[in-house]
């Protein structure tokens, strides 16, 4: 394969595209969409994070402003965790709109994460959202098809194909040249996104190395994705009888891969692995907790056994004489048991979700669009794993809070009940301040890469496949396609 021939063909392809006025119209439309998307991504990122940070601080203020009181009152007073958006969510909204944003953290109870954007949204949300990533995933591939479908097929129809091949270019050079040309054109559509996101990150001061790594990975994957799309377009054009056939085939592929498959895969997954209703989930946990031992029931065997062994170990005859607060101890045990039970059920539930999503994950191997979609969300911190990461952090903070309050109770609260009219038991408010605020940490880069093995494998696999297809096609294709 001669490099100069490839460059020549690529350049000729680009020249032809530059001559058509449709190209400039498309470029303008795409840039306008990208700018609109970038603006709305940036706007929602800054506004939402400002709102959430503000309320996180408000919640902290009211936590700290509590006077001296019984630590168990504080365990119920609880606090809130607000989910912060990752800086790259400006680029790809992923599941952001469908995941909850705020959760109340209190003792004894794992609350749902509430107030997702979707819960305030009309049905319009279900048409999808315009993010920079959506333009890159949905619109640009379609434009690549628009610009490339006739590349070889039209030359064949007009008879110029013969001329090119007679002049000494090989099929392989032709295919690689056309693909390179198309890829360069695609880059013109894609560069504005790369640039605008860079400046938004710069503007927001989010230039840490972890974010830069994600940023680099995202655009590298998109680059690979476009190489695949460009080559596929040229191959379709080569194999089609007429440019009309090439167009219809490409559009069909776009529809199936982008519109039909993702939704259908998810629907299939949900159909075959139905998730339990909330009431089922909650009552199963409730039953398990009751079975394990009810810390509210004085005759409960589990807690009675604990009590007996405690009395025995400390050589006392009643809980009043224990060196620590007995009910604090019991609540600590109850919290531990119920948290373990909850985690077990939650794991089961998340397992069902995972199986529902597995269909999509496997289909992603065949569908590079789904692979890039998953990768893009994951590295933008807006996919399911990022959300579950938040949920876990919120839950461990909640657990920490409840247990810290229980331990304070064990340490500082007497075992004697206060008499009527007496001042209730209380500890100093400095303890509230000593308990650190909730601080959400995003997943580290390497952690994310680990969740995306399938999608990365898909892109690599497709690269290999298109390479071999080009080799194969250039050997077998004929100048005049038979009907």
């Amino acid at each position: 394969m001669r490099k100069n021939i490839v460059v020549l063909i690529a350049r000729q392809f680009m020249m032809q595209v530059f001559k058509s006025s449709v190209f400039y119209a498309l470029l303008l439309i795409v840039i306008a969409m990208l700018m609109f998307a970038a603006y709305s991504g940036w706007h929602s990122y800054t506004v939402q994070n400002e709102i959430r940070t503000h309320y996180q601080q408000e919640a902290r203020k009211s936590w700290e402003s509590n006077p001296d009181k019984h630590p168990h009152r504080m365990a119920h007073y609880g606090t809130f965790a607000f989910r912060l958006k990752h800086a790259l969510s400006m680029f790809d909204f992923g599941m952001e709109s469908y995941t909850g944003n705020a959760v109340f953290l209190e003792a004894h109870k794992q609350n749902s994460v509430n107030f997702s954007e979707a819960s305030f949204s009309t049905g319009l949300l279900r048409f999808g959202e315009i993010s920079v990533a959506m333009v890159l995933q949905v619109v640009i591939p379609l434009i690549v098809f628009f610009l490339g479908f006739s590349s070889v097929a039209a030359e064949r129809q007009m008879g110029t194909l013969k001329v090119i091949l007679i002049q000494g270019a090989s099929w392989k050079e032709l295919l690689v040249g056309k693909s390179t040309g198309l890829m360069m054109i695609t880059t013109l559509f894609y560069i504005p996104a790369v640039v605008v996101i860079f400046f938004l990150l710069l503007f927001e001061g989010s230039m840490e190395s972890d974010i830069m790594l994600r940023y680099g990975a995202i655009f590298l994957f998109y680059f690979i994705f476009y190489v695949i799309v460009s080559v596929v377009t040229i191959v379709i054009s080569t194999l089609s009888r007429s440019s009309k056939d090439a167009l219809i085939t490409s559009l069909g592929i776009w529809l199936v891969f982008v519109v039909l498959l993702p939704r259908t895969a998810q629907a299939v997954g949900s159909y075959f692995y139905p998730a339990p209703a909330k009431v089922t989930f909650e009552s199963a946990i409730e039953e398990d907790v009751i079975r394990q031992g009810d810390s509210h029931d004085p005759n409960d065997p589990h807690f009675k056994a604990i009590k007996d062994s405690l009395l025995h170990a400390h050589g006392v005859d009643s809980v009043q004489h224990l060196p620590f607060n007995y009910s604090g101890f019991i609540m600590r045990e109850g919290e531990r048991l119920s948290a373990v039970t909850y985690q077990r059920h939650l794991k089961e539930l998340l397992g069902i979700y995972e199986r529902q999503n597995d269909v999509g994950k496997i289909i992603a191997v065949l569908n590079p669009y789904m692979a890039i979609r998953n990768l893009s969300m994951a590295f933008s911190g807006s996919d399911l794993f990022a959300y579950q990461h938040f949920q876990q952090q919120a839950e461990s903070y909640r657990y920490e809070l409840a247990q810290t309050m229980n331990e304070l109770q064990m340490k500082y609260i007497g075992n004697e009940k206060e008499k009527k009219g007496e001042k209730p038991h209380a500890i100093g408010k400095e303890h509230w301040m000593a308990f650190p605020d909730f601080k959400y940490k995003f997943q580290p880069f390497i952690h994310i890469a680990g969740t995306q093995v399938w999608s990365i494998a898909s892109l690599v696999l497709w690269c290999v496949v298109v390479f071999f297809v080009v080799v194969k096609v250039s050997k077998t294709v004929k100048v005049i396609q038979n009907v």
Partner: protein, 449 residues
């Protein structure tokens, strides 16, 4: 001629494949809808069973202490999905159909979400509404984009025009043959849906069918308009698919992002914090102050006095009440913000048939945001009713008669069925008529080469 045209049309393999695919997707979507309805149905049965057991168990433990008992007891209000929601699941998968609330502070409870897989929510439901709004138009495009250009490109146009009296009439017959096939498919799918989902034959269903028919008519009109421009097949295919992309993805997404950026809802978070502080901080406030506020809200309970030097449930529930009272303004502000979102979306939707059809389907199936907001209001009323019923028992610390508990089965929301015919149908009729008129005008000058 008509029969021949239909025959010729059906003979093409691509057409058969496309139509079969559409049919399969349609049937699949109906079964997905049924699964959704059955899932909700099972959930409702479980709620009913669970509530019975739950009350029984707690009454056994705490029956003598009404204040403590009602701390635990949860009562369900069910916003049962209509059968039609099987055709358009709408926002029903996001917003819960069941509220289970204690008589404590409601603002702490009513926004609790269902268990859900965010990935499924994001990809969206493959319901019949999706098939009509997204897929039917694609099939119409596929069947019509080369209605005229194909004849020209294969040079059959002149042949036909010589043989028939009017080429325009011939085109029209060709178009109507496709329309007949597509509409037949639509009606067959509706027939299957009626059987599978056991749909009642009511005004909502009729409106649903008419909206679908008009919506598809809009797409036929749009395709006919592009045909009337008399460009090449490639041009028509590109133009139509681009229009589809703009109407089915870009415009709705743009309006949605405009609406959600224009009306952010920080009130949700302030409500969240205020209801907590409103209740919890009362533990550190003089009991008399809280009681006075409570009496101002409910003068009829002034006769119940909370003792100053010990815990009492009268005081406890007065504190709980303060959570709701102090979050009231923010909660109201949140509600009106969300309503604004709904109105703005509907206004924009009336210009864009895809959006209009989708929102109308949700509205008719009672799976819209509006429906959920109404449900939240109904939850308020339900909760208030429970409170007013139980407060006297708690304040007197007087156990309820044993058989009183039997009546506490889950309650269902009530709805008045009314279809806003004009606002539902008119936008589609107008937009369709506009495109038909332009197309007919363009067709007056027909060039056959």
């Amino acid at each position: 001629m008509y029969r021949l045209i239909i025959k010729q049309f059906i003979r093409s393999r691509a057409v058969v494949v496309t139509l079969s695919l559409l049919f399969i997707m349609g049937v699949v979507s109906i079964f997905i809808g049924r699964q959704f309805i059955e899932h909700e149905q099972r959930s409702i049965e479980q709620v009913t069973q669970h509530q019975h057991d739950h009350i029984e168990r707690n009454v056994k433990y705490h029956g003598e202490n009404v204040g403590l008992l009602l701390y635990y007891l949860r009562f369900a209000l069910i916003n049962k999905p209509t059968e039609l929601a099987g055709l358009s699941i709408g926002q029903r998968d996001i917003n819960p159909s069941v509220q289970r609330v204690t008589i404590r502070n409601l603002e702490a409870q009513k926004y609790d979400t269902d268990l859900q897989n965010p990935a499924s929510l994001m990809y969206g439901n493959l319901d019949f509404g999706f098939v009509v709004v997204y897929l039917f138009p694609l099939v119409i495009i596929a069947l019509i984009f080369n209605l005229l250009s194909d004849e020209k490109e294969n040079a059959t146009a002149k042949l036909v025009s010589i043989q028939s009296q009017s080429f325009r009439r011939y085109l029209f017959v060709k178009l109507s043959a496709r329309a007949v096939v597509v509409y037949t498919m639509l009606f067959i799918l509706f027939g299957i849906a009626i059987v599978v989902l056991n749909l009642p034959l009511d005004a909502a269903l009729l409106a649903f069918v008419i909206v679908s028919v008009l919506y598809l008519a809009f797409w036929f009109a749009l395709c006919f308009w592009i045909t009337s421009l008399q460009k090449s097949s490639n041009y028509s295919a590109l133009a139509l698919l681009s229009l589809w992309l703009v109407l089915a993805i870009v415009l709705p997404a743009a309006v949605n992002s405009y609406v959600s950026n224009k009306f952010p809802v920080p009130e949700s978070l302030s409500t969240f914090i205020k209801q907590r502080d409103g209740y919890h901080q009362k533990w550190d406030v003089d009991k008399g102050v809280t009681m006075e506020k409570f009496y101002n809200h409910y003068p009829q309970f002034r006769k119940y006095v909370a003792p100053d030097d010990e815990f009492s449930y009268t005081w406890y529930y007065a504190m709980q009440q303060m959570g709701d009272d102090e979050a009231r303004y923010d909660s109201w502000a949140m509600r009106s913000k969300i309503r604004q979102r709904e109105y703005t979306s509907r206004w924009w939707a009336s210009f864009v048939p895809t959006m209009h059809a989708h929102l109308s389907f949700n509205e008719l199936s009672r799976s819209s945001l509006e429906n959920h907001l109404t449900f939240l209001d109904q939850t308020n009323a339900f909760h208030e009713k429970l409170r007013l019923y139980f407060y006297p028992y708690i304040f007197d610390n007087k156990p309820l008669p044993k058989d009183a508990w039997d009546s506490f089965t889950p309650e269902y929301t009530e709805h008045v069925q009314s279809v806003p015919w004009v606002s539902t149908l008119l936008p589609l009729v107008i937009v369709t008529a506009i495109f038909v008129l332009i197309a007919v005008f363009n067709m007056r000058k027909l060039v056959l080469h």
